[in-house]
């Protein structure tokens, strides 16, 4: 494999890692507050459809993004009501909302556009277009680093950079602010937070809504950045891969970035069977590459690569003492 091919793969790694990263950070907020969320997939799908539709109708990707975030927040709020207010089973609620999203996105897209559940292709200002970073053209001819900067780091849509910025931001919010301290505490020991006079319910709702916003960005990126329009089931399990990355990262923001880049890299490789065949010297079945993120997650879960311990109060509804 030559340097040019490597750069191509790294370039698509970054693009494919972006939705995973946003969804993974989304899950991080929710799970750190003690609310399990296996509904990342559904929220992303709802956001992808909503963003694709509105971006097409208005011709503006930014209004599309807002619509995507809005749709995702609605799903997040339902999950919040079911798991916080009505103390329902968080796993079941997540599964249910994934189904609702899977069906309703096709229903709406089909009703609006009648193209078999797709939105019409987006173009121009209705998509996130490539941003050329400063000096990318000038540095293009510098050996090794120049092409790396020009090909891999520069030339992505705004959402890719936004996702990368979300990593330090999440770290800062979680570990350097009062809100973050409380959020982590409510996921470990809600009683103590309650005793300190802070509302568990309010903290958890805040976390769930943040999850909605980030999933909305992830979904909007799928239909307006990574691809040009919404297609049926276009999330293709990314919500679950993000969940896997979250466990892989042991619920920590920087590690989430590394895990998502790794899974993004695997997805980018799976798109290039020719390269892997050349590297391995034999024909590696593509399904194996597709399954690799899941297999890796199971290995991590099994505790062979350090133990992944979730937030202690995760999945447990909080009942205030009377």
């Amino acid at each position: 494999m030559d340097y040019g091919t490597l750069l191509q793969i790294l370039d698509s790694t970054l693009r494919l890692a972006t939705p995973l990263l946003l969804a993974c950070l989304a899950g991080l907020f929710s799970e750190r507050s003690g609310i399990f969320d296996i509904g990342l997939e559904g929220k992303m799908l709802a956001a992808a459809m909503s963003a694709g539709t509105v971006a097409f109708l208005t011709g503006s990707v930014w209004i599309g993004l807002l619509a995507g975030i809005g749709a995702s927040i609605i799903f997040a709020a339902i999950h919040g009501v079911a798991s916080i207010t009505f103390r329902g089973n968080q796993l079941i609620s997540g599964v249910a909302l994934n189904f609702v999203a899977s069906g309703i996105t096709v229903l709406i897209a089909q009703t609006l556009f009648g193209q078999g559940g797709r939105t019409p292709p987006l173009e121009g200002a209705a998509r996130f277009n490539a941003i050329t970073l400063p000096f990318a053209e000038a540095l293009k001819d510098v050996p090794v680093i120049g092409p790396l900067y020009h090909e891999v780091i520069s030339g992505h849509g705004a959402m890719v950079y936004a996702a990368l910025l979300c990593v330090p931001l999440t770290w800062w919010v979680l570990f350097r602010t009062r809100f973050g301290l409380r959020l982590r505490a409510v996921g470990e020991n809600p009683e103590s937070v309650d005793t300190a006079g802070i509302s568990v319910v309010r903290l958890r709702y805040t976390a769930v809504i943040i999850t909605g916003i980030l999933c909305g960005m992830a979904g909007a990126y799928l239909s307006t950045g990574l691809q040009a329009g919404f297609g049926k089931e276009m999330t293709a399990g990314r919500g679950y891969i993000a969940l896997a990355a979250l466990i892989f990262a042991k619920w920590r923001p920087w590690h989430a970035l590394y895990a998502c880049l790794l899974f993004g890299f695997l997805q980018a490789l799976a798109l290039r069977p020719d390269v892997i065949g050349g590297l391995a010297g034999f024909k590696v079945p593509v399904p194996l590459l597709d399954a690799l993120p899941y297999i890796l997650t199971v290995i991590v879960l099994a505790g062979f690569v350090g133990k992944a311990i979730p937030p202690r109060a995760g999945g447990e509804p909080y009942v205030k003492e009377r």
């Binding site: 079941i92 909302l97 189904f99 609702v100 069906g103 096709v106 709406i108």
Partner: protein, 363 residues
């Protein structure tokens, strides 16, 4: 909170949840500019308005009984098996390997062998998550989800690279031998007087009914069933009573995976008669809804499976005869899971004041 009387808990709460899910489904149909009443008429006549419709409804119900029982058994041990889909896919592989291995002379010989293959492969697929949960504390929900995806990838590999007959372009296995054909309802003497047209419902339906009875016997009439339920109620109490947690987790999940795998004799052996890609078609997930709706009791599972068979067949008819997309049934399925599984506390909270008022009036 006021405790509801048992009959309200068992019957009233699921029925109200179902009504709520139906109400919101109707809103969805209205929102996409269609008539809920017209949709209902199509669903009703398409699913139960004729023997032909019933032949499909009961075919789907058969699959859902197996996956619903699979989720039920695991639920009783407080294990949430979301992996029914993957286990059913692997069950299909087991069926295909067994049926393609020998030139089966008659279905009465082929059926037990295929059942064993299906159950074995399904159970094997559940075994790893079970073992990881029991000994390494990995959350079974996450591992079974992962195993669904691994199963899908594995099946694509098997169909494309191993089972696909030479020269064929489709990623499917070869057709099973003639002798392995299961009698459909229209081929069974007696039943063929009712089912005159070819329907997919087949003898597997009776196997599923037997499975309902056996699961009931297992859970409430055997020592193992008692241990499973005790373990599900309180793991620490069960341990204290000398119940081996690893053993119970493993056995429960093996039974659960085996049941999910057995679904394959209905769809793979009974209907398509060769292994197709994504043969389970989401039935593994519907098992969750069926178990929740059926309140984790085999009789409830039977009724809920028929209800979902009805919705599935009706949904297919909608896709065929109206401009409402077939995906409506996934929305309905999601809403049923949401209201019966996650929001049942809401329904209870709504009902509690009524019963409190009644109790006070009596007292």
């Amino acid at each position: 909170m006021t405790k509801l009387p048992p009959w309200a808990d068992l019957v009233l709460v699921p029925v109200i949840s179902l009504i709520l899910a139906g109400f919101f489904s109707a809103l969805v149909i209205l929102a996409i500019g269609q008539s809920p009443l017209e949709a209902w008429t199509v669903v009703w006549t398409g699913a139960v308005g004729s023997a032909y419709g019933w032949g499909y409804t009961l075919y789907y119900a058969t699959s859902f009984m197996f996956t619903g029982l699979a989720v039920t058994v695991a639920f009783h041990a407080s294990l949430f098996n979301i992996g029914g889909e993957g286990q059913a896919q692997l069950g299909g592989l087991g069926v295909a390997l067994v049926l393609l291995a020998l030139p089966w002379p008659h279905w009465t010989l082929a059926l037990p062998a295929a059942m064993a293959g299906a159950a074995l492969f399904g159970a094997a697929w559940a075994a790893i998550p079970a073992w990881l949960q029991a000994t390494r504390g990995s959350h079974i929900v996450i591992t079974t989800i992962m195993f669904n995806y691994i199963a899908a990838a594995f099946l694509i590999f098997m169909l494309v690279d191993v089972l696909r007959p030479a020269g064929s372009m489709d990623p499917t296995s070869a057709r099973f031998p003639e002798g392995a054909h299961l009698p459909a309802f229209n081929e069974i003497p007696g039943l063929n007087l009712i089912f005159t047209k070819g329907v997919p419902a087949n003898v597997t339906f009776f196997v599923a009914l037997a499975a309902c009875v056996l699961v009931w016997l297992l859970l409430w009439r055997t020592r193992l069933g008692y241990e499973i339920r005790a373990f599900g109620k309180s793991e620490s109490a069960a341990r204290y009573a000398g119940i081996n947690a690893v053993r119970i987790t493993m056995i429960t999940m093996l039974i659960s995976g085996g049941l999910a795998g057995m679904m394959a004799i209905n769809n793979v052996m009974g209907e398509s008669e060769r292994l197709l890609q994504n043969a389970a078609e989401g039935a593994g997930f519907i098992g969750i809804a069926v178990a929740l709706m059926g309140r984790n009791h085999p009789l409830g599972v039977l009724l809920a499976a028929i209800l979902f068979g009805f919705l599935y067949q009706g949904g297919a008819e909608l896709g065929l005869w109206t401009s409402i997309p077939i995906e409506l049934r996934i929305v309905v399925q999601g809403l049923v899971i949401l209201f019966t599984g996650a929001l049942d506390m809401m329904v209870r909270m709504m009902l509690a004041p009524l019963f409190r008022a009644r109790r006070e009036a009596v007292a």
